[in-house]
């Protein structure tokens, strides 16, 4: 590229400075892609949560990453609750969505990039499940084929007051919030209902039966798959965003037009 009609002596024989950036970029992308493929391959493999080697691996991960707050035997400390009996579902939700390990104390542990591979998450879940009986990770068949209409009704009665009827999330008290559900995996939604993470109430199988939970998951999947019939939904959080849009853009346009109408022509 630099070898044009008038090659300057300084540039002759040297690569363009962009080339280095490009090379590094390509290198990083290839490594990342290869790593991603490798980890996906691991994730798709079935992991036996009751196998002693997996539990053992989970125990070591737990001691290294979780025991500071939850205690060496997961018995709980001043900094974190006991995990005996919370079950594999709670671990899969908290660690699988990046909420745990917690980055800093605050009103709520926010969702952040997941810190472990899927295999490691499952190993941690296996270890915690081995400490005491608790809800287990739902199988794929528990998540598919629900009734959307019934799920919608159950969602409006039990979930919509916090998570918004369109699953857009909403504010709670003192800095806490109900997260939006549009990007949540079906399995995590199911586990959240089962275990009641953080300030969310528990919806055990006697309150919302497994079939009810399947319907709620189906409703959320339906929302994800179907675009808003009204067009531009402005993140579906209701009168605040819609009002702001109309007050700023709508009124702004009206004011602009009024000024233009009354201004003298040049």
């Amino acid at each position: 590229m630099s070898e044009k009609k008038n090659p300057s002596p300084r540039k002759r024989g040297r690569r363009s400075p962009i080339a280095i950036v490009l090379l590094v970029g390509i290198g990083l992308l290839t490594t990342g892609a290869a790593y991603g493929m490798a980890t996906t391959a691991t994730a798709s493999a079935d992991i036996d949560l009751s196998s002693p080697s997996v539990i053992d691996q989970g125990g070591r991960l737990f001691a290294a990453n979780c025991a500071t707050c939850h205690g060496m035997q997961a018995q709980g400390t001043q900094a974190g609750p006991s995990l005996i009996g919370v079950g594999a579902a709670a671990v899969d939700f908290q660690v699988g969505t990046g909420r745990m390990p917690m980055q800093a104390t605050g009103p709520q542990a926010p969702q952040k990039p997941v810190q472990f591979t899927d295999a490691q998450v499952k190993a941690l879940a296996a270890y915690v499940a081995s400490l005491g009986p608790g809800p287990s990770i739902p199988s794929q068949s528990a998540l598919e084929g629900g009734d959307v209409a019934n799920g919608g009704e159950l969602f409006r009665i039990n979930c919509a007051m916090c998570h918004n009827v369109a699953g857009a999330g909403g504010a709670l008290t003192e800095g806490k919030y109900a997260p939006e559900l549009k990007n949540s995996a079906a399995v995590h939604v199911y586990e959240a209902m089962l275990t009641g993470p953080q300030n969310m109430p528990v919806f055990n199988d006697l309150n919302l039966t497994p079939s009810d939970k399947k319907d709620v998951v189906a409703y959320l999947e339906y929302l994800k798959a179907n675009p808003s019939p009204g067009g531009l939904e402005l993140s579906a959080i209701g009168p605040v965003s819609e009002g702001l849009f109309m007050w700023v853009l709508g009124l702004g346009a009206i004011i602009g037009l009024t000024i233009w109408i009354t201004a003298k022509s040049n």
Binding site: E153, L154, I157, N158, M161, C162, G170, L172, T173, E174, K176, A178, G196, Q198, N199, M200, P201, V202, F203, N204, L206, N207, N226, P227, P229, G230, G231, W260, I261, K264, S265, N266
Partner: protein
């Protein structure tokens, strides 16, 4: 009236000061004469537009106006085609969106283009010389006013309005009576045979009614609730009511049932404590502020948030208000467990649910 008659012999000019005198109630000469009166600044000097001085710019502006009208025609045609080619198909929400989107955009911008063209035409192309139109006097001439009085008198004479008092008073009475039924009909807005106070003071709950799931009506056992659970509850038998009545009753009887560790609950009296069962408590979902459903329950802080005006209630302390405009704690539904292990109401709420009303305390 007398003044006008008096003024008939005078000419127009002498009449006007007389009327001003009458309006102010003072004689001319005694009023305060202001010396610093604001002077009419007149019109600003006429400024010529580019389109006045440059014929090419004028031609361009005229072209733009014409084109805007053509654009409007094109958009109207587009709207017709949008209706034809993006029909609403039953069951397909996307088709509704496309249809309304294109028809709306087409017709809105067709009208918008007409408006922009009209304003631009007026501002840039039409003549814009300033002119003065003096306001003509509101008062009619003396002859017109006298004739008007004459017509009134004549009409009174011919209709007999003043003379035939029977007819006149009858007409006035009819006019007064006519709106009365409308006022009487307002009564129909209030409940007819029931005392509205009573309606607001009682709900569907009564002794022995089981607590059931909303919307299925399946009864709830105390053992169904794990710690941290929250269940939305309607009374047993509510779903058997006709729909309108069911909704009216549900609006008052909706209850949120939660289970805490029994040690987390603080009670002011043994009686209040007896309204709960092993950490299970039931509170009205109707906010005591303006009646929104309060159900944003945080299981760790035990706070209950009303989404409308951010009132917060503390379930651990008998639903006391800890923040926001609500004036009273949420009423608690006294609950117990029957012989089969199902949760039942001990009685109705001990106070009216929802917002305040005048006769609430009586």
């Amino acid at each position: 009236m007398a003044d006008i008659v008096k003024g008939t012999n005078k000419d127009e000019k002498s009449f006007i000061p007389a009327s001003r005198e009458r309006l102010t109630g003072t004689e001319l000469g005694t009023a305060v004469v202001t010396t610093d009166a604001f002077e009419n600044p007149g019109l600003p000097p006429h400024r010529q537009r580019v389109t006045d001085t440059n014929p090419r710019r004028l031609a361009r502006a005229a072209r733009i106006v014409a084109w805007l009208f053509y654009v409007s025609i094109a958009l109207s045609v587009f709207t017709i085609f949008a209706y034809m080619f993006f029909p609403i198909e039953a069951g397909d929400t996307t088709s509704i969106r496309l249809s309304t989107l294109y028809i709306g955009l087409g017709s809105a911008f067709a009208l918008f283009a007409i408006g922009i063209a009209a304003v631009h035409w007026g501002k840039a192309v039409m003549a814009d010389k300033e002119g003065v139109d003096e306001r003509h006097p509101v008062r009619g001439t003396v002859e017109t006013r006298a004739r008007a009085v004459e017509i009134f008198k004549e009409a009174d004479e011919e209709s007999g309005f003043s003379r035939r008092t029977l007819i006149r008073n009858g007409m006035i009475g009819a006019f007064i009576a006519f709106p009365l039924p409308a006022i009487a009909l307002l009564r129909g807005l209030a409940p007819m045979n029931t005392d509205p106070n009573n309606l607001m003071k009682h709900t569907f709950w009564k002794k022995g009614l089981r607590l059931t799931h909303d919307p299925t009506g399946v009864p709830i056992k105390a053992s169904d609730l794990t710690i941290g659970s929250s269940v939305h509850v309607i009374p047993e038998g509510l779903l058997d009511l006709p729909e309108t009545e069911m909704l009216n009753q549900k609006a008052k009887a909706a209850v949120l049932l939660v289970r805490l560790k029994p040690g987390d609950l603080h009670w002011t009296s043994e009686k209040r404590k007896s309204w709960s069962y092993d950490g299970i408590v039931a509170y009205s979902k109707i906010c005591t502020h303006v009646g929104c459903p309060v159900a944003l329950y945080e299981q760790q802080t035990h706070h209950l948030l009303c989404p409308c005006h951010q009132s917060q209630f503390d379930i651990a302390n008998e639903c006391a208000v800890i923040f926001g405009p609500a004036a009273r704690p949420l009423p608690q539904l006294p609950i117990a467990v029957d012989s089969e292990g199902y949760l039942v109401a001990q009685s109705d709420f001990d106070q009216p649910v929802g917002p305040s009303f005048w006769e609430r305390e009586k």
